[in-house]
């Protein structure tokens, strides 16, 4: 006897094993899969066939994961580039303040504090923070 929830559970395991992160984006892709299964069943397919067709259309877990990895690598690269550019600019500002004999309190305390705040304390916020509370519904 075909158990569709068991099939969803196995599909989720495959996705997780391939490195697809949960809850986002796995939740979102599972919602898509459930919608596909529902449409197939409305068109007359039985549950097993409907799951098989919809899961095939979703694609291979490894390939999807590789595409997500490209996004992560791109973000990491952009983040590193941002940090390096910022660090260079702040170092130049501190050096310049020393060269032009700016007040010691400015060169030693104010500028380094601002640099630390810009580089370490202020961080980009995740877009998915709200979404991570969501779970799929059947």
């Amino acid at each position: 006897m075909f158990d569709i929830e068991q099939s969803f559970s196995e599909w989720r395991k495959q996705m997780l094993a391939a490195g697809i992160k949960t809850p986002v984006p796995l939740v979102e892709i599972e919602i898509h899969l459930r919608e596909g299964v529902e449409k197939e069943m409305q068109a007359g397919a039985d549950a097993e066939k409907a799951f098989e067709k919809a899961a095939r259309r979703i694609g291979l877990a490894g390939e999807i994961s590789t595409e997500f990895d490209k996004n992560t690598n791109r973000n990491t690269f952009m983040h590193k580039r941002y940090l390096i550019a910022n660090a260079v600019l702040w170092a130049a500002a501190i050096l310049a303040s020393a060269v032009i004999h700016a007040p010691v309190v400015f060169s030693i305390i104010i500028l380094p504090t601002l640099a630390f705040t810009a580089l370490v304390i202020i961080r980009p916020k995740s877009n998915d923070s709200d979404c991570q509370k969501m779970t799929p519904s059947a």
Binding site: H32, E35, L60, E63, I64, E67, N71, C131
Partner: protein
Amino acid sequence: MIRKELVAASAEPLILSLLANGESYGYAIIQEIKARSEGKLHWTDGMLYPVLHRLEDRKLIKSRWGESETGRKRKYYSLKEHGKIAMNRHHDEWTLVHSVLANLKKEQYV
């Protein structure tokens, strides 16, 4: 069937253009592209999500969680102002490529 390299290259402009018509969600985006291309543009459904997330990371689109008519959770995507600019740039580029190609083809019949 369109070659996969072209499918990949056209994904971003197509998604942006589709969202310019109003917010949508993954499943509907796939169905809309399939219908508009009469099934010739074939996307693997799961591959849509890395593209959507990339566009969102680049602040070209935004998303919100909502519900379908049946109460199922859904993530809806819509175009942001930067996305409109990117979409217009894509249109200019694709129009240029199309125009060069069309002119070259025309010359072959002269």
